[in-house]
């Protein structure tokens, strides 16, 4: 499923912060993990990922470091900052609240599946 741009804009940064909370990653690794763990829902290309990463870096939520990997290739690894951790907690709370609201409205049934029959 391809998300609308506005939805991706809202969910993408939180998803990246969540992934980085598990450990540092480089760009391609993030793309892979996002696609795999979200069932390709949050799959994004380079034109979407890197601007997002640079924005998060500008906000001080993540920090990038250039390092040489074990295979000799030079990569830029991103990790979560303390500010990023706080932001992640806040985002989680907000997404939980949104999820609860939509559930009460019947948009999402308690199992997490959209209630398509109501349309």
């Amino acid at each position: 499923m391809k998300l609308e741009r506005e939805l991706m804009r809202g969910t993408g940064p939180t998803a990246v912060l969540q992934l980085l909370s598990t450990g540092e990653m480089y760009g391609y690794e993030l793309v892979e993990q996002l696609a795999r763990q979200s069932g390709n829902v949050l799959a994004m290309g380079q034109s979407t990922l890197y601007p997002m990463l640079y924005n998060l870096e500008a906000k001080g939520l993540v920090k990038g470091e250039d390092r040489t990997a074990s295979n000799g290739r030079r990569r830029r690894y991103y990790h979560l900052t303390a500010k990023g951790k706080k932001k992640l907690i806040t985002d989680k709370e907000q997404w939980t609240a949104v999820n609860d609201a939509l559930t009460k409205l019947g948009v999402i049934n308690p199992a997490g599946i959209a209630n398509l029959g109501a349309i």
């Binding site: 979407t48 890197y50 290739r73």
Partner: protein
């Protein structure tokens, strides 16, 4: 940044050279260098705009310089007479290069040529740019050193520097073999896109990524607007991403990852990367935006002001001429003599200015040029012919002056005048010799400042006529005619003063001074020229004039208010803005008074100059109500000054000192142009009426009284109190120090005198060398030409004789 630094360094050398060759003081050096900086920066920006060859270059290359020209010319114009300006000769030539013809031509033509040629050939663009720059700088240098031959050879290295600057600005053509120029191109450093592309290709070289991925990276890089370091970081990260993707595809067989839209990606990456820049960069961006916004706003405001200025029209509501002429306007027409004076004028013109005597050398003498003082060698023939040619005219003039009470000139009523002129057969071109410049529908037509008063010239000539006739009368012992002539001259002065303006009052003073001086001179030369009764008649004539003829300060205010209503708009609440008519009038006045063509000052006809700079000046100029209040305050200060007795005045209370400070202040001159431009040296006018004129009047009165006393007692008085034992009349007070006039009775006769400009009693001695004891300043003058006394009466002549002057030389 290296090319830009080199370019700036070269320009700095040029500015230094120009400043060094043109300065005489450190202030001039700084002044010239700053001006050169401003001009060269604008030239460079214009060339950059043209050489960039884009639409935004249009803004840089054309609009900015045009706006900047306004600043340069306005600043240069206001600084033209600044004390820090270079010497007159040099700065005149220097400013020729900031004038309207040369600078805009270089900027606009040069810009367009570069702009067009950039599309065709960068090689020729570079050549043209270098030629333009070198020519301009060399010419500027030659102008600065026009009068100094040995400095002119420096124009060669200046031209070379100009050539280098021109070459630096334009980029090398792609693929050219001029690799050195490429690395030094200013344009290249301003357009890093090419460097980004070179960098990208260098990084992509030998990387094992697909051609699609390579093209994606090229597409993103081409659209990035980042510096080299940021670009390198982004490119390498993208390449590594592609390499990881390629490796994954090989090991897992997955499809290649999505690349996305490169233009969107480049835009988002640029935006995001710029957010990562340090705070000072953000501060600079916002500052630059603020400056651009301010410049744009200033330019828009200027455009609005241009519109407002050139569409502004004054509303004339008050006839100030009628107000000023109300005194004579109330007199019935049959009691006014202006028509008779016009007929006399016609008769005078018919006679013309005849030659009355001729010397052996061929020099000719007329009464309008020599008055009553022809040289001794031709005096007899002169006066004999004078009586024959002008005797009857003088008699009729004398008769007319004694018949009526007022002249009653129809001020401002041009139609009545023209009607009568044609009725009596006078040529309108002759009488309106200095006709009004403005048409009937022009706001400045029939203003107090511009209304023609041709009768004043006639009054002056009539004074000369009567004065010469009076001297002829004395020579032929016709004392009765002498007395009547001077009675008539006093009346002529009163006619001149009927219209209470400064010009009229000054003429009135000048006319009556002729009587005072002539009576004094005749009595100095011949103490027995008149009987006691005749002396009493002369005394009555002089004493009947006002001791102090006050300056019409209220009229000065009314005249300014009249001008203000003609050059300012009126919003109905007594306020308004300046209109182009103000600058038109000031320019016309300057041309009339200085006999200079306004074109010489700006290189453009005045009306074109005004059209451009007028809106900017009018923005700073005071509004109507403020201009009126400013002049009111000035006149009130002048009145307070005039109310002081002359000997009580000081430099601290001086009005003219304040006016001089205002006039030398560029901001004040821009703020109150109409007020300051037409602000007379009112202090000197006040003192002329209440110090110099009364003292000249005193000359006649003291001469009459001394001669009358001598004829009555057979001797000169020992002191002046013998003339008036009870109370000294006010005319015997010395206007310079408030004390009684000084008097010395020596073996050579009596000397009555004023202490004069130095306020120091020198015993009745003239200053040495063309003395100026009769000048007046707020405080005692210590300079050599004032060191002496103003002699009011003595036997022979009050002027120093040749022997006395030689004796003064010996005393040195």
């Amino acid at each position: 940044m290296r090319p830009i630094a080199v370019c700036i360094a070269l320009q700095a050398i040029v500015m230094l050279v120009l400043g060094l060759v043109s300065h005489q003081t450190m202030q001039e050096f700084v002044f010239t260098t700053l001006n050169c900086t401003l001009v060269l920066l604008i030239i460079m920006v214009c060339h950059l705009g043209g050489a960039i060859g884009r639409m935004r270059g249009l803004l840089i290359g054309l609009v900015f310089p045009i706006f900047a020209i306004l600043v340069i010319v306005s600043v240069a114009d206001s600084l033209r007479s600044h004390p820090m300006a270079v010497t007159r000769t040099r700065h005149h030539l220097y400013y020729d290069f900031t004038d309207w013809r040369l600078l805009p031509a270089i900027l606009i033509v040069g810009y367009l040529a570069l702009f067009l040629m950039h599309r065709v050939s960068l090689r020729f663009t570079a050549i043209l740019s270098s030629i333009l720059y070198s020519t301009f700088l060399a010419s500027m240098y030659l102008a600065m050193t026009w009068n100094d031959g040995p400095d002119r050879w420096l124009a060669v290295p200046v031209a070379i520097i100009g050539w280098l600057i021109g070459m630096l600005i334009v980029p090398a053509p792609p693929g050219s073999d001029l690799s050195l120029r490429r690395s030094f191109s200013v344009i290249d450093s301003l357009q890093p896109r090419r460097k980004r592309q070179v960098l990208t290709e260098r990084i992509l070289a030998d990387r094992e990524i697909t051609s699609e991925q390579q093209q994606f990276i090229r597409d993103i890089t081409r659209r990035l607007r980042l510096n080299i370091t940021e670009t390198r970081s982004v490119v390498e990260e993208l390449i590594h991403h592609c390499l990881d993707d390629e490796a994954s595809r090989k090991t897992t067989g997955n499809l290649p990852g999505s690349l996305g839209d490169p233009s969107t990606g480049a835009r988002l990456i640029t935006r995001a990367k710029r957010r990562c820049r340090p705070p000072i960069w953000h501060a600079w961006v916002w500052t630059a935006r603020g400056i651009q916004a301010a410049l744009a706003l200033a330019f828009l405001t200027y455009l609005v002001n241009v519109y407002r200025f050139h569409t502004a029209e004054p509303t004339i509501t008050t006839d100030f001429i009628q107000i000023l002429a109300s005194g004579s306007a109330s007199i019935p027409e049959e009691e006014r003599s202006w028509k008779s004076w016009l007929e006399l004028w016609k008769e005078e013109r018919a006679i013309g200015d005849r030659v009355l005597a001729t010397e052996e050398t061929g020099e000719e003498y007329t009464y309008s040029e020599w008055g009553s003082e022809p040289p001794d060698g031709v005096a007899d023939a002169y006066f004999a012919n004078f009586a024959r040619v002008y005797g009857s005219l003088a008699a009729r003039t004398r008769q007319l002056a004694s018949d009526n009470t007022i002249m009653g000139w129809p001020y401002g009523d041009r139609k009545a005048l023209d009607t009568y002129i044609s009725e009596v057969g006078i040529s309108a071109e002759e009488i309106w010799e200095f006709d009004q410049k403005y048409e009937e529908d022009h706001p400045l037509y029939r203003s107090v400042y511009t209304i023609p008063l041709p009768y004043l010239a006639h009054l002056r000539r009539s004074t000369l006529l009567l004065w010469a006739d009076a001297r002829e009368a004395v020579n032929s012992a016709d004392t009765k005619r002498f007395i009547e002539n001077h009675r008539a001259i006093v009346r002529l002065g009163e006619y001149a003063g009927e219209f209470p303006t400064i010009v009229n009052t000054m003429l009135a003073i000048s006319i009556q001074n002729a009587t005072f001086e002539d009576i004094s001179d005749v009595l100095s030369q011949n103490q027995d020229a008149f009987t006691i009764k005749e002396l009493e008649k002369l005394y009555a004539i002089v004493e009947g004039t006002r001791e102090v003829l006050p300056m019409p300060l209220d009229s000065v205010l009314l005249a300014m208010n009249d001008l203000i209503q003609r050059v300012y708009t009126d919003n109905g609440n007594g306020d308004g803005i300046l209109t182009p008519y103000a600058y038109e009038y000031m320019a016309d006045t300057m041309v009339m008074t200085s006999l200079a063509d306004g074109t010489e000052r700006h290189g453009l006809p005045d009306h074109q100059y005004r059209a451009f700079t007028g809106p900017a000046r009018a923005t700073i100029a005071a509004r109507r109500s403020e201009a009126i209040a400013f002049h009111f305050d000035y006149i009130e200060a002048a009145k307070q000054y005039a109310a002081l007795m002359p000997w009580e005045r000081t430099r601290e209370t001086s009005v003219d000192v304040q006016v001089e400070l205002w006039k030398n202040n560029d901001y004040m001159f821009w703020r109150y142009p109409v007020n300051l431009y037409l602000m007379p040296a009112i202090e000197s006018l006040i003192t002329r009426s209440d110090v110099l004129r009364p003292t000249t009047r005193t000359r006649a009165l003291i001469a009459i009284e001394l001669c009358r006393y001598r004829q009555d007692r057979g001797r000169w008085p020992n002191t002046l109190t013998e003339l008036f034992p009870d109370d000294l009349p006010t005319w015997m007070i010395d206007r310079f120090d408030g004390q009684p006039l000084r008097y010395v009775l020596s073996a050579d006769g009596p000397i009555a005198y004023s202490v004069g400009a130095d306020r120091d009693d020198d015993g009745g001695r003239w200053p040495k060398h063309d003395g100026l004891a009769s000048s007046w300043q707020p405080e005692p003058q210590s300079w050599e030409r004032a060191n002496g006394d103003w002699i009011l009466f003595r036997l022979g002549s009050i002027q120093p004789t040749e022997q006395e002057l030689e004796a003064m030389e010996d005393d040195q």
